[in-house]
Amino acid sequence: MKNISLAAGLGLFFTAAFFLMALFAPLIAPYGMAEVVGGVWEPASDKFLLGTDSIGRDLLSRLIYGGRTTIFIATAATLLSFSLGSVLGFLAAVMGGWVDQALSRFVDLLMSIPSLIFALVVLSVMPVTVFVLILVMGLLDATRVYRLARAVAVDINVMDYVEAATLRGEGRVWIIFREILPNALSPLVAEMGLRFIFMVLFVSTLSFLGLGVQPPQADWGGIVKENAEGIVYGIGAALWPAVAIATLAISVNLVADWVLNRTTSLKGGRG
């Protein structure tokens, strides 16, 4: 941790700040999430640091609670997509043959449908709960992770050390988790940073379209939707969630870069 670069430090700081904010939202937020405390679109003041929203709720509090929802959904969906996608990808690479064919063609099929449309169709026929949202987003994104994991694992699978493990008589579980996974971690971690941000954007998009998080529950996409009309009158309330998303995206990727550098130098790579 000593020779940490400025970029990585900033990234770590902001990422940590966002996650802590999400975790302790009720303690930090000055007002309740759905509490109407003032007039419509009041400007920033001592009372309301970022002003109020379209129906007079404190915007800062909405943002903090919205971050909690958005980050929670994005994190859970990312974890789901990575555990599912990478394990299936590794399995396809190790097994080869018809298992690989079946999984890969199924994934191709899913990927050939634009994921936003697919999600819209699924969510319009299913009850929109947080659980369903996470499930749909995680499954759709698992296809991307599967592709990457399979490609990386196919390369690793032909290494002599994997052959040595096979000849020793090791089972698939050992080969996947002990031989392949540690060596595939670097590209996966890098991808994880990116995927997490796509998840944030995805859930925000869904909410903006009205099929994501349902009001009065706050989330960043929802806040944009609620305050979008204000832009016409020169009210910037809808821009704050965008600022939050951009800051989070940059800092998470700085952290991913930092982790990547550290892990590659472990095997003697060029830091």
């Binding site: 002599d160 050390y161 040595a164 096979t166 000849l167 020793r168 008589g169 090791e170 003697g268 060029r270």
Partner: protein
């Protein structure tokens, strides 16, 4: 004495290293090397990997590869210091006055362009010849280098000619702009022995006929002795010995040079075959899926307990495929494999744990044979845990014993493979194989990626371990010097079939069949004039031509 073409004075070269867990820092890799090269002469640079020989060769083009920087000294070419000259002048120098032939021609040619186009490029770009003249010259060079159909071979793409031919095309490429100096960087190392001598002879004649000066870089003293006038022996970026070839070969002064000259002089008494071989391969035939021909044809060999069978052949002869058939990775289409009195099932997944344990394997490239994310302790400890259920202190004790056996201390137990040298890595792989307490170890070219002195150490270790553990080896190699030092019996393979098989003394004694003769005569010998003798007397053309 006339002014030398190339004059190197106190050359120092540095690089930045990135050790794991430490701050990057600068190190010096060449510490003040000086030499002269007269026009038309050949200087051999020889040393182990890391000796700085390629780096010095490239410095004569004022070039540092992969973050390497020339930090001091002078390099004079044709009367000017090229480290001080202008960028435009360096451009004229590279590819014009000094050209370069790399180890892997296959990786150096652009696969999307025809050979001729690439061969004439430098001469045309430097304005030395018109395209027409350059093409005529290239065809002349193809002819001189002994390439078949010189008028048309340039119209082919790089993948359409063999490795040996491509290496000659690269020599033509280097000679086409009429340079004053050519740097040959291990030009024959990647080739089969039988192909190597043809390419070597072609290079030697081309150098003689064109009167070009050359730096010839290699790790094989016997090879460099055939082509160079002077030899410089390097070690860790320093000159060990520098003198005429005759003196270096016949009267080396330094201890290190003497060791290089006398390498591979291990003596191994052949043991008599026993009635019960530990491995009996009978009539094995195999092919890869999608191929229309058999890669192994009716192969039958025995390995006796506590003895070594060497399987010799060029690349493509099927020797590694034999190992895959025995280990069950490529189930044979016909034939039987008996091991320790039982018949082995043809495919690996259906073999018992006992079968797997008693048949271990060591690979050519130790780097990729060990998981870079596991420590030495994990690598060696896993077979102990997997086969014998050893845990905790008991396991650690056995790992330490094994590390002792391979002559490495227990200080290595928590290191990662990246922190080991090439020889140490191979030793760890040997320890991993030994940990299973096997009856037979298949060694697939285990010394060919190593420097001669390191390889020597590994062979000695293997012989020693054979005495202690009474393990048998199936030793796959293309190197006959290795075979002489460790085998009890030998199988010579050619195009998937065993062409000669028997005890070492019989296989290596005349009368020879044509292929064995070619193979035996192609092993470079450490004496002057050997190359010409071989070319004049051999019976069969190498397949790689």
């Amino acid at each position: 004495m006339s002014e030398p073409l190339l004059k190197v004075r106190d050359l120092k070269i540095g690089a930045t290293v990135y050790p794991p867990g430490q701050k990057p820092h600068d190190i010096e890799i060449v510490h003040g090397v000086s030499f002269d090269l007269q026009p038309g002469k050949v200087l051999g640079l020889i040393g182990e990997s890391g000796a700085g020989k390629s780096t010095i060769g490239l410095a004569s083009m004022a070039y540092g590869r992969g973050g390497v920087r020339i930090t001091g000294g002078e390099v004079w070419v044709n009367g000017r210091d090229i480290l001080q000259t202008s960028a435009g002048d360096v451009k004229r120098l590279r590819g014009g006055e000094v050209t370069y032939v790399s180890q892997s021609a296959a990786a150096s040619f652009n696969p999307a362009k025809r050979i001729l186009e690439q061969v004439v490029e430098a001469a045309v770009r430097h304005g030395k010849l018109s395209r027409k003249q350059a093409e005529a010259k290239a065809i002349l060079l193809f002819e001189k280098l002994g390439l078949p159909d010189p008028a048309n071979i340039g119209k082919r793409y790089p993948h359409q000619v063999s490795g040996g031919q491509l290496q000659r095309c690269m020599t033509a490429l280097a000679l086409c702009p009429d340079p004053d100096l050519v740097v040959f960087d291990e030009p024959t190392t990647a080739l089969d022995v039988t192909t190597q001598i043809d390419v070597l002879m072609a290079i030697k004649e081309a150098i003689r006929d064109t009167g070009v000066a050359a730096i010839y870089i290699t790790h094989d003293l016997a090879v460099v002795a055939q082509v160079s006038d002077d030899i410089m022996v390097l070690k860790m970026g320093e000159t060990v010995e520098y003198g005429p070839t005759d003196q270096i070969i016949n009267a080396p002064r330094e201890e290190y040079t003497q060791a290089l000259v006398s390498v591979r002089s291990i003596q191994h008494e052949e043991k008599a075959p026993t009635p019960d071989p530990v491995l009996r391969v009978s009539g094995v035939t195999a092919r890869y899926r999608g191929l229309s021909f058999d890669v192994l044809k009716d192969v039958s060999v025995d390995v006796h307990p506590g003895q070594t069978l060497a399987v010799v052949g060029e690349s493509g002869s099927g020797k590694s495929t034999l190992a895959r058939a025995i280990t069950g990775l490529l189930p044979p289409s016909a034939g039987r494999i008996e091991f320790a009195g039982r018949t082995l099932s043809p495919d690996q997944p259906s073999r018992s744990k006992e079968d797997l344990r008693e048949l271990q394997m060591i690979y050519q490239i130790a780097d990729v044979a060990m998981n870079p994310r596991q420590t030495v302790g994990t690598i060696i400890g896993r077979p102990l845990e997997f086969y014998f259920g050893l845990r905790g202190a008991e396991k650690r004790k056995r790992i330490k014993e094994l590390l002792d056996e391979i002559e490495m201390g227990d200080g290595f137990i928590d290191r990662y493979p990246a922190e080991l040298s090439g020889g140490q890595k191979q030793r760890v792989c040997i320890a991993r194989a030994l940990a299973a307490n096997p009856k037979l170890i298949i060694c697939d070219e285990v010394t060919s990626a190593l420097d001669p002195l390191v390889a020597d150490g590994i062979l000695k270790l293997l012989l020693n371990l054979q005495k202690i553990e009474d393990v048998s080896y199936l030793f796959i190699t293309h190197d006959l010097a290795t075979v002489r030092s460790i085998a009890d019996s030998i199988a010579v393979m050619y195009q998937g079939a065993v062409v000669r098989y028997g005890p070492k003394s019989e296989v290596l004694a005349p009368p020879f069949d044509d292929y064995t003769d070619l193979l035996l005569s192609s092993v470079p010998e450490m004496r002057l004039g050997w190359l010409e003798e071989v070319i004049a007397t051999r019976k069969m053309e190498s397949a790689g031509n």
